[in-house]
């Protein structure tokens, strides 16, 4: 009994200590970002960094970052409802699923809480969609599409081989955004006659490599690998390298592409391992929604169009500049740590 009490007391203390930070300071506004980019996704760093920068600039605003730890609509809606229950002054949320998010968001908007969509918009026509203030973010489908088109341009220029088989390696089969990236890539590759496959590799590194290797073994015509997360690109490169498929960017063997402006993506491009990545402007996706919520609260601004932060192609030509930018946000040490090549 004694041990149990101590344990319980310790955990409750830990909770209050963490919570205390949020309650202690007197602030005028409290904005909440409810995200599906969680502890299992390195891109969370962009969003939390930009929220911190925003708080620094606007000392009268508290920002909170709430996220699921795996991609699940069910869980995400639950978090959203609980966030609404705290009556924040503004909410930023990706519209992962129109149908599931419409109910709670309409209720929040009716209750006078301004909502900004980020990262994923409500894909329906403007008059049908959830009446949020605006959308800030990229476009998952375009991310895949533009990257695919860029690769075809490079192939036409003779820098890389023409596609004979493309695999879109996805780490979460339930994540709608990842499916949209693959769909974009597929659309770009249509007409080339190359075989396109979507492969669910899972998020476990050893199992993912095993899966990808098995796939490459069974489908020897595959020569483009598109990893829909930056952190899985070294795995794909490693598998192809082990199999002697010359995965570096050259006119033979396999070509690897990925997404995100993460250090691992940028450094992969700089080292010649990766052809290109696609930035969605993650830093802006954290900062800009807060800015719009603040302006809406203080000035009554209501932007009349979506604000696109991407996609922007990162390739060997601009990777150095990207590296400098990202270093300035994360700091040198964190940047180097995140480079897992």
């Amino acid at each position: 009994m004694k041990h149990a009490t101590q344990l319980a007391a310790a955990s409750l203390l830990a909770t209050t200590a963490l919570a205390g930070v949020a309650v202690a300071q007197e602030k005028q506004f409290r904005f909440v970002m409810v995200s599906h980019i969680g502890s299992n996704d390195a891109n969370m760093g962009w969003l939390t960094e930009s929220l911190a920068a925003f708080e620094e600039k606007y000392p009268d605003v508290t920002t909170e970052y709430i996220s699921t730890n795996n991609y699940s609509v069910q869980e995400h809606v639950r978090l959203l409802e609980q966030a609404i229950a705290t009556r924040p002054d503004g909410i930023a949320v990706p519209i992962v699923d129109n149908d599931a998010f419409e109910g709670p968001l309409r209720r929040a908007i009716e209750a006078g809480i301004p909502v900004v969509a980020f990262n994923i918009p409500d894909s329906r026509p403007a008059d049908e969609r959830i009446p949020y203030l605006t959308y800030v973010g990229g476009d998952e489908y375009l991310t895949g599409l533009h990257l695919g088109q860029y690769a075809l341009e490079q192939a036409a220029a003779g820098n890389i081989p023409a596609p004979t088989g493309i695999v879109c390696a996805s780490h979460d089969a339930a994540h709608q955004g990842l499916k949209a990236r693959c769909a974009g890539m597929q659309a770009a590759m249509e007409g080339t006659g190359a075989k396109f496959e979507e492969l669910f590799i899972g998020a476990e590194p050893a199992a993912a490599r095993n899966t990808l290797q098995s796939f490459m073994q069974a489908n020897p015509e595959t020569n483009y690998i598109f990893t829909v997360a930056g952190w899985s690109s070294p795995w794909a490169w490693g598998v192809a390298n082990d199999m002697g498929l010359s995965p570096d960017v050259d006119n033979e063997g396999v070509t690897v592409m990925t997404v995100d402006e993460a250090p691992v993506s940028i450094e992969g491009i700089r080292a010649g391992h990766l052809l290109a990545a696609n930035s969605q402007g993650f830093w802006l996706q954290g900062y800009a929604p807060m800015e719009w919520l603040y302006w809406n609260k203080t000035l009554g601004y209501e932007p009349k169009s979506d604000i696109l932060t991407g996609p922007v192609i990162i390739n060997a030509d601009n990777a150095d500049k990207w590296a400098a930018l990202v270093r300035s946000v994360f700091g040198d040490q964190e940047y180097d740590n995140q480079n897992t090549w």
Binding site: M1, H3, A4, T5, L7, A8, S11, L12, A14, T15, T16, L18, A19, A22, V23, V32, G38, S39, M44, E64, Y65, I66, S67, T68, N69, N70, Y71, S72, V73, Q74, V77, R78, L79, E81, Q82, A83, I84, A85, T86, R87, D97, N98, D99, A100, E102, G103, R106, A173, A174, Q176, K179, E198, F200
Partner: protein
């Protein structure tokens, strides 16, 4: 004096296994109200917690019944997901009521499959249901990569949609009301508690969990009782899936993922003995409430998402330990 009055409570704790979890729930609620400054204890949040309690609770009732027979069912998370997908697929194409019945029937079928394999082959239920957990999770993921499973928000305002997980009834003043799923849960709790305590089926179920050999020697068809429990469990998980899908209007392949573990944790918190024979349905539901309250507290207090899992894991074990120590104290002379 104090010691004497405390030991006077022992028989109550001994006979009502839910006392421990009620105590934990009360203490937690007091703590949450005191420290959250109204962020936890507002009507909107409470109604959210009750909504989670409703769907997870229906699943937990079924799991508790299976635990009562001395078996375990960890496939319910996948059954929940399959139920949700079936409901959404047919609700928009045929009719919500028909779809709901189909989803519950599918759940019952999965339960029957589990029960049949377990009783027929005498294999541990943990392994069989682990197998079906994976089978139907894979199926759910495969299904959702081919079709969209959703019902648009605007179309979800008919009476049938309302009954199957619709929004906020009893809305009054500042109280934002509860989801109809909660009524299903209460109905399930009442019916099953009566069935468990006051009917032959309940007596047989507990006897099977207490001592399958003794029950068998008294002429009880142990296998049939177990299969019935699994069928009920599957059907309840399917119903939970329907209500969750009815509320969300959409589902992905991860629907219900990890809920099986929460359901088992809730049962243990609520005083169900995993060895079988002693269960408390009310206790299990309060266990669900405790779990969803903790989760919601961490969210509304903006605990960093990284801490979330650590605290959840530690609190589940600590609460199970506290509950056990309390019961230990009550049994001691």
């Amino acid at each position: 004096m104090a010691a004497a009055s405390l030991s006077g409570l022992k028989p109550i704790v001994r006979q009502h296994s839910e006392v421990g979890v009620i105590l934990i729930a009360v203490l937690l609620v007091i703590f949450f109200v005191a420290t959250s400054g109204g962020r936890w204890n507002n009507s909107y949040n409470i109604s959210t917690i009750l909504q989670i309690t409703a769907t997870l609770g229906l699943m937990t009732l079924g799991v508790a019944l299976v635990i009562g027979t001395g078996e375990i069912d960890i496939s319910v998370g996948s059954t929940f997901g399959i139920g949700a997908l079936i409901y959404l697929y047919f609700a928009i194409r045929i009719d919500p009521v028909f779809a709901a019945m189909l989803a519950v029937a599918a759940g019952a079928l999965i339960g029957a499959f589990n029960g049949y394999l377990i009783t027929r082959t005498g294999t541990p239920s943990l392994i069989i249901t682990l197998g079906t957990l994976m089978i139907f999770r894979g199926l759910a993921i495969a299904l959702t990569s081919g079709f969209a499973f959703s019902v648009p928000y605007k179309e979800r305002d008919g009476l049938t949609y309302f009954i199957l997980g619709g929004e906020n009834i009893f809305r009054a003043g500042s109280f934002s009301g509860v989801n109809t799923g909660f009524l299903w849960l209460i109905a399930g709790l009442v019916v099953l508690t009566i069935a468990l305590k006051y009917t032959r089926f309940g007596n047989h179920l507990l006897a099977v969990g207490g001592s399958a050999d003794s029950a068998h020697s008294r002429g009880i068809r142990v296998d049939r009782v177990k299969i019935k429990a699994f069928i009920l469990c599957g059907a309840l998980a399917g119903l939970g899936g329907v209500l969750e899908a009815g509320k969300l209007g959409s589902a992905d392949g991860s629907m219900g993922r990890l809920m099986e573990l929460q359901a088992i944790a809730a049962c243990v918190l609520g005083g169900c003995v995993l060895a079988g024979g002693r269960i408390s349905l009310l206790g299990a539901l309060i266990g669900v409430f405790v779990l969803s309250s903790i989760q919601s507290y961490l969210v509304v207090m903006a605990v960093k998402p990284q801490w979330f899992m650590v605290l959840l894991g530690v609190i589940v074990v600590a609460a199970a330990l506290g509950d056990r120590k309390l019961r230990h104290w009550a049994v001691r002379k």
